[in-house]
Symmetry: C2
Subunit: 216 residues, 2 copies
């Protein structure tokens, strides 16, 4: 009953995802989305309580790109590593998508799927559920944190990012060596290589600690 719906959560989220992919999350506003859908902005409030709820749903939808199907014979730590790297890459693929996901867990389909895959791999490693939960939290914090920190620079593209990193190194190097001996000494090595490499090394360190039963 009622007037036939021309909108649906699916159609709305598809259009919203399109906007986010091409223009970044900052371009996603009620009016912009309305014009894309050919409807009044206020119509969106018939399907979502908030723009915030809509944003969370779009954020989760974009997480479909994270692959979680475990490959046969793959060791647990390779699975975990692959998922975390994929998750981080997906978060960085769209400008500031990380903003939509960080904070409270959404418990939406894709997030649940990724959590299940991570925990399954951790349990497969022989950890008991409590230890697996601790490891899960540590891995997610590192992954989301890395994505949040790198989001702005990653949005520039790799060429521009390299220039930005060089600028930062120079800024640190130019500090007074008397006052900041460690920082000036290490300046040359800060923000070296790609952010992805730095993340993977941190991830490997954490995974090694996990495999030795350090955490939990």
């Amino acid at each position: 009953m009622g007037r036939p719906a021309s909108l649906s959560r699916d159609r709305i989220e598809a259009a919203a995802a399109q906007i986010v992919e091409t223009e970044g999350v900052d371009a996603l506003s009620a009016r912009r989305l309305g014009s894309e859908l050919g409807c009044d902005p206020s119509a969106l409030y018939r399907h979502y309580t908030d723009m915030d709820e809509l944003r969370r749903c779009v954020g989760d939808r974009l997480l479909v790109a994270v692959r979680t199907t475990a490959r046969v014979g793959e060791p647990w730590d390779r699975t975990v590593r692959r998922i975390c790297i994929d998750l981080r890459r997906t978060l960085l693929a769209h400008r500031r998508l990380a903003d939509l996901v960080q904070g409270a867990p959404t418990r939406l389909p894709n997030e649940v799927r990724i959590s299940e895959a991570l925990l399954a791999a951790l349990l497969r490693s022989g950890l008991d559920p409590a230890q697996a939960a601790g490891a899960y939290h540590a891995l997610v914090e590192l992954t989301i944190g890395s994505a949040a920190i790198d989001a702005d620079v990653a949005a520039q593209g790799t060429r521009a990012a390299a220039g930005t990193y060089r600028t930062w190194r120079n800024d640190y190097r130019r500090l007074d060596p008397e006052q900041f001996p460690a920082l000036t000494a290490a300046a040359e090595h800060l923000y070296r290589g790609s952010a992805a490499d730095r993340f993977e090394r941190a991830l490997d360190a954490l995974l090694l600690a996990l495999s030795r039963g350090t955490l939990g």
Copy 2:
């Protein structure tokens, strides 16, 4: 020469920090700050190019609370641990302060001070500058990530946070065990204890990996 200034970066930032401490960063707007200072909002643009620049400066100012003076005879890993925990606590102390700091490094006074202290401790451990830089990145990513993830819940206060965590556990527990065996099995142990405890365990795992020269 020129009209005598009634505003200054110091006075502006002090008022802004006051607003952030009492009402959270969302309350910090040009108009709100102007009314606090008894001046027109547009006057702020004589002292900062952007509201974004102003926010970064305020964010850095609030980092004064992070203690970095190394205690005599303190082992390097205790120093690192203390600074990271203090940094995370400070970021969580003000509603969404983490938002102001994450992203690009500001290279403002307090951030430089904290970076210097962290790198000094890492160099003291015997790492070479390149390894210290890698360790620094890993530690900062974990710390900022933890703060970013916990920000919303931490703003509720510890009592309400416990209830929120219980709700999440219940949501995960109620999932279909056929489809999500690992998640339902570990649900009981997710978001257990305080977020600070979870962070410290992750931090310890990372520190242990560092001390064994895993990273870098």
